[in-house]
Symmetry: C2
Subunit: 281 residues, 2 copies
């Protein structure tokens, strides 16, 4: 017997589609409903087996759900959660999959009356390719999902969200929304800016001389510019702080090279290699 009778996913892109595939392939839900505004995306999600049923009407989609996961771009998550809560039952677990948490959770915490069953989530899994056609049922296996309770989060909800993500193969870490945004500024938002700046700083005529090093270092610059602009707008101050640390680090490297302090340069490269090696390939 499946863990859930009905799970609704609002937004069936790469993340929403992968959640659907994982739920269906693991037999976790009797029915997976995909909700979206564009029929074309819903058709793709149906075609690749990510959902059992497609709905363009949110109210119809979430009416009988045990769980609703909002996997839309970050700018629309809070408003969508509000609408989901209005249309679904009091005991329906509602969570999201947004890459930022502080602004979204603050906006949701301000809703009156307080929501009875929402907590924020961020699965640290993705790809520079988007859309349900790139969804994979194993996207979350062994990956971290950050769940971000606040002082307003009702008891029991965190455990239910944790169980949901663990059922998809993920490991759950609990952090406050603000801690999450600080950390992700360093580990995700800054790398994106760096990859984009590196691509933008490469003169076109030299691109034929770009090899695997350039390709690896710029790969995430291929991600969706609109989604990422929203992410930066949600996490402005932590991103700027991370960017300033990066520029300071580059300044130290420049000074080592300029002053021909090769031992100092090598020491920095050794420290960076140690940090990188700690993560594995």
């Amino acid at each position: 017997m499946p863990l859930y009778s009905n799970v609704a996913i609002v937004g069936v892109g790469l993340i929403g589609g992968s959640i659907g595939l994982a739920l269906r392939q693991r037999g976790l839900a009797a029915e997976v409903v995909g909700i979206g505004r564009r029929q074309a995306s819903l058709d793709k999600a149906l075609a690749c087996g990510a959902i059992d049923r497609a709905e363009v009407d949110l109210a119809a989609g979430v009416a009988s759900s045990d769980v609703v996961i909002v996997a839309t771009p970050v700018d629309s998550i809070a408003a969508t959660v509000r609408q989901v809560v209005t249309e679904s039952g009091d005991t329906t677990l509602v969570t999201d999959a947004g890459s930022t948490k502080a602004a979204i959770c603050a906006e949701i915490d301000a809703i009156t009356p307080p929501l009875s069953s929402f907590v924020g989530s961020h699965p640290l899994a993705g790809d520079h390719r988007s859309g349900p056609e790139n969804a994979r049922p194993d996207l979350f296996e062994g990956k971290v999902v950050v769940v971000t309770p606040t002082g307003a989060t009702p008891s029991g909800v965190v455990g239910r969200a944790q169980a949901l993500w663990e059922s998809l193969g993920a490991r759950v870490m609990l952090m406050s929304p603000e801690q999450h945004d600080q950390a992700l500024a360093a580990t995700s938002h800054l790398p994106h800016l760096v990859a984009s700046a590196l691509a933008a700083a490469t003169p076109d005529q030299w691109l034929p001389l770009a090899a695997t090093g350039w390709a690896d270092t710029t790969r995430i610059a291929a991600a969706d510019p609109e989604l990422w602009t929203q992410i930066f707008s949600h996490n402005k101050s932590a991103t700027i702080a991370a960017l300033d640390r990066m520029v300071e680090q580059l300044g130290q490297l420049r000074m080592s090279i300029f002053s021909e302090n090769w031992q100092q340069l090598q020491d920095t490269l050794i420290q960076a290699k140690r940090t990188r090696d700690a993560l594995g390939n």
Copy 2:
């Protein structure tokens, strides 16, 4: 009948070992000799089939070679080429595989009497892992090798070097050593500094929240710090110029975020994506 009767490779690491594997698997040389100072590396190269014979004595290794490829760290290439030329025949093609070219080629051009058969090469192929145990016979297939003639390069030598690299499956581009170093500062040396700075700028306690974006963007920070310090010391001014372009680009991104000019930010991300997409995955 093989193209070459004897090819010697000085330095059997990742690049030298891969050249040996490619020569042997393609049946291009009757004998491939590996020359190195450390018997342990030579034994590894023999064990993985990269060479037919190992020599710790350079003179004995290159005495009867048609071709000698110097694949040592950049700091020792010019001196090694000088020694190779003294010990090998007048018609022996000598080239290298160094990641920088201007300093090496200038030092070699200054040798008297002028060398009769040297031209510099840089295969744009590699891996963040080093050593002959990571060598691959297909490392050069479809990859670019830059061959860098100078005013002092004897006629005919460029064509022979081009034929050598093409026999390993590579495409050859001709550039001056200075043009090469300018271009590679942007496409290889800067990405390395950026990857290292990003790894070094990431606080340890947030590493558990690093996902594929961070992993891709920092991957080349795992390469050998000593080899890379030598590369930066060979290409100081072009690297600093590339670094300054990068910091300026990061400064523009910072300004877009700070001033909440989201349209400008998105435009930069779009331009970066276009550049990145042009390269493919």
